[in-house]
């Protein structure tokens, strides 16, 4: 028993708890792009959280209009310029971060809750329970996601809530499928068999063993998906099916500045850039996390 545990642990096993967190920090830290993306995302999240305090013209985030200042070019007073009704675009982009990140968070939380619950039940129960859940999931997966979102959004009244519902409805099946596969693997582990032999109730086994050990790949997927959700939300409001004026929402702002692009480029450019940077950073971070969790990347 003098063997050091680290030297005998097979490389194909994911470490639990603190060890996992430390490894993520180490591997993501070595991946410059992922680390830089994480830093940028922290800045964006902080900007969204503190928008009312750091925005130069907080009132411009919503209803305020200043006709005298309309369509000012970027300059000392308005760093990102102003829009058609004179609202400060920097303030609106900051408030837009609240909307976009809020939508992304809501969509991902709902999708993960619904998807992981159904997936873990399917994976653990197996048999006909699994078949029923996975066939329903397949039906949702059969539609192209954006098309289904568009259809749902066009039935409901355009709003931020509509966007959330429409996107979450197409996103959860991926989490169901992913967690069903992972849970089916966890189900056969000896510690699950041991718990069954001890007469532990199946629901307790799921809560105590199967769910915690199925979550890691889901967390990676959440990060990879955040960028996609932000893009989809922006697409829906760009098409007039999502957030509506006077909400600051990046897709909506791009849409309203689009016709002015040749003469007043900044109205569409800055919110567009915000979408691009945020989605890009989430993808890079997700890729970094995925590499970090791949046992083959362990040092």
């Amino acid at each position: 028993m003098s063997i050091h545990p680290d030297t005998v642990a097979p490389a194909t096993r994911l470490p639990g708890g603190g060890a996992l967190a430390r490894r993520l920090v180490r591997v993501v830290g070595r991946d410059t792009l992922a680390a830089a993306s994480a830093v940028v995302l922290v800045v964006i999240v902080l900007a969204a959280l503190f928008a009312p305090w750091i925005a130069p013209f907080p009132a411009d985030g919503t209803l305020a209009t200043h006709p005298a200042d309309r369509l000012s070019a970027p300059g000392a007073e308005h760093w990102f310029g102003t829009d058609q009704v004179g609202r400060d675009l920097l303030s609106r982009v900051l408030y837009g971060a609240r909307t976009s990140l809020g939508i992304a968070a809501a969509v991902l939380v709902i999708s993960a809750l619904v998807g992981v619950t159904l997936g873990v039940v399917a994976g653990f129960a197996g048999g006909w329970v699994r078949d029923v859940i996975m066939r329903v999931t397949d039906v949702f997966l059969a539609f192209p996601a954006l098309l289904l979102s568009l259809a749902l959004a066009s039935i409901l009244r355009p709003s931020v809530q509509t966007t959330i519902i429409a996107i979450a409805a197409t996103w959860w099946p991926w989490y169901a499928r992913l967690s069903a596969a992972v849970a089916a693997g966890v189900r056969t582990r000896p510690y699950v068999d041991a718990a069954r032999c001890l007469g532990v109730h199946p629901i307790r086994i799921v809560g105590r063993h199967v769910l915690p050990n199925s979550l890691t790949p889901v967390l990676v997927q959440l990060s990879l998906d955040a960028g996609g959700v932000i893009l989809t939300a922006a697409s829906l409001s760009y098409l007039g099916l999502g957030a509506t004026e006077p909400t600051s929402e990046w897709g909506l702002m791009v849409q309203s500045g689009q016709s002015l692009f040749t003469t007043h480029w900044w109205v569409a450019a800055f919110p567009g850039l915000a979408i691009l940077v945020t989605a890009f950073c989430f993808n890079m971070l997700g890729e970094g996390l995925r590499d970090a969790l791949d046992p083959r990347s362990a040092s």
């Binding site: 028993m1 005998v8 582990r189 068999d193 041991a194 032999c197 007469g199």
Partner: protein, 256 residues
Amino acid sequence: MTVHPILELAGVDLAYGKTTVVHGLDLAVAEGASLALIGESGSGKSTAARAALGLLAPGAGEVRFRGTALGSLDAAGRRAYRGAVQPVFQDGPETLDPRQRVGSAVAEGLRLPRDERRTRVRRLLTDVGLDPELAERRPHELSGGQRQRVGIARALAVDPALLVLDEPTSALDVTVQARILDLLDALRAERGIAMLLITHNLAVVDRLCDDAVVLEAGRVVERGPARRVLDEPQHPYTAWLRAAVPELGGTLPGLG
């Protein structure tokens, strides 16, 4: 009044999907007895262990707990069975939940208030020769031998009458193996716990078991007292298994 064995497999067929891997297996483990189920990889012995543990339902035949088929047990009978028959699996990184502390793994089968549970867990860890302070550790901080002792403590928590040991020492170093066998031997001698030992390692059989059943490709080819089966194998397969263990007959350090 007839005394039923703790566990009995009667004419059991076991299948995965359409492939039957065990054919008409009969075996019984009486109170305090120890029976070896011997065979090489793929002989169906681990599948038989899963059936004995109620993790796999037989396609034909019955698994009986104290005379009653598992499928016919009422709720109380089911609880009694779960408390009486406990597994010890081959050591591997996943015999224990990687996210669970040793203490809560050992306490998994206990229904006790928090304070009593703590005391009981420390006691169980001491019983299997571990430092009770290990309760706060996580599995990846333990050696293979320590993990296996934790697995045994988890099973002992419910005071089982029978341990189903599936290759309990095969993944361990020889010296560690010897200490685990000492522990199992002591449990049998001091607590009268019966054992169903699933193994391909005849040295372990010699050490722990009274009787032996030899399984080849899912069928029993030989059975009898362990000593006789090992020393005078009647079936060529048993002889072949025996020939594959050159140490037997000599003295293994710590096993003599």
